[in-house]
Symmetry: C2
Subunit: 167 residues, 2 copies
Amino acid sequence: MRTSEGVEWALHCCLTLVWVGGAEAAPEPVPSARLAAMFELSPTYLNKVLQRLTRAGLLTSVSGPRGGVRLARAPERITVMDVVAAVEGPDPLFACAEIRQRGASAVGAGPREFARPCGVAGAMRRAELAWRRELSAQTVADLAAAASAASVSRVRANHARLAGRSG
Amino acid sequence: MRTSEGVEWALHCCLTLVWVGGAEAAPEPVPSARLAAMFELSPTYLNKVLQRLTRAGLLTSVSGPRGGVRLARAPERITVMDVVAAVEGPDPLFACAEIRQRGASAVGAGPREFARPCGVAGAMRRAELAWRRELSAQTVADLAAAASAASVSRVRANHARLAGRSG
DNA sequence: GGTGACTTACTCGGATATGGAGTGTCCGAGTTAGTGCGG
DNA sequence: CCGCACTAACTCGGACACTCCATATCCGAGTAAGTCACC
């Protein structure tokens, strides 16, 4: 079990969008190809990842020249959980296959025997909820604010350099 | 991202071992093939899963006739986290690839710039720790005790039936 | 009857195939900035 | 000078290969119970 590489990509791209976009309501869109160059990522695959964020309503995509993606809402209202869920999909970490109802172990069980949820699934679900709660407690804005001013300036400068060179 | 099917298998097998073993210090070992029959699982693959639990020190395997596996220590001292870690491996859920240090985004960064851990990785790690804490808070004994007495009796009876028929 | 080694069947353990999801790539549809012509 | 249509390039979006891990399987090494002969 390992989270997709795309999660890290998506979060760093969101942070970059916050930093280069400033506090404006509708900043300049940033092309996904430029974001890929920022982090030396596969441009086409990053595009796929950002598509998921767009479909989830976290990003807004702008077509045509000078197009790209921008945050769909204020970074304070985008949680890390939102990003992870958009990239990884809605499936829970632990998928209970209800093996307790199969095989010899279940022989002789009454019809209402398995009405209550599986204890194993419950334990896993509790842990998963704690994970989700912690992810939901942190917003993209929090992460963006935690970075050092020097890093933010450097990212902004490098982004501007790329914008000037390639369009 | 999804937990391995083997996690559910391993936990249910541990519960079964608790129930059929009783409170004895060294109960009768249960062959993995019988556990597979209990839950209608692939015997050989379940064997592989139980091997990991054995290597992790959670189970003790006994070779030869009337052999099998049994809990290596009291169920109160086996946490759900132990089982998950044994099956899934020691790798963290989120593997930070440090993409922040690559590409145009890092151009012009000083040598000590990335000494502090990545904020994205920190957020993911916090959530992961919450997940692990919750898993560690529950023991196999807790799960075993939470089941209804009827279920436990049924599992014991079915296990005894299998033991009589094939072993 | 007791003891010993042997046979034997049963167990675990690791090396070996297969499938599916994540990863990576490509090309087409759509859109908008820019441009040039005509009024 | 203004407006319009055209061009063109640039973007996103979904359809197509590749790789690695989880899944599933097989066969061999090892072991302890049961057995049989022998003392």
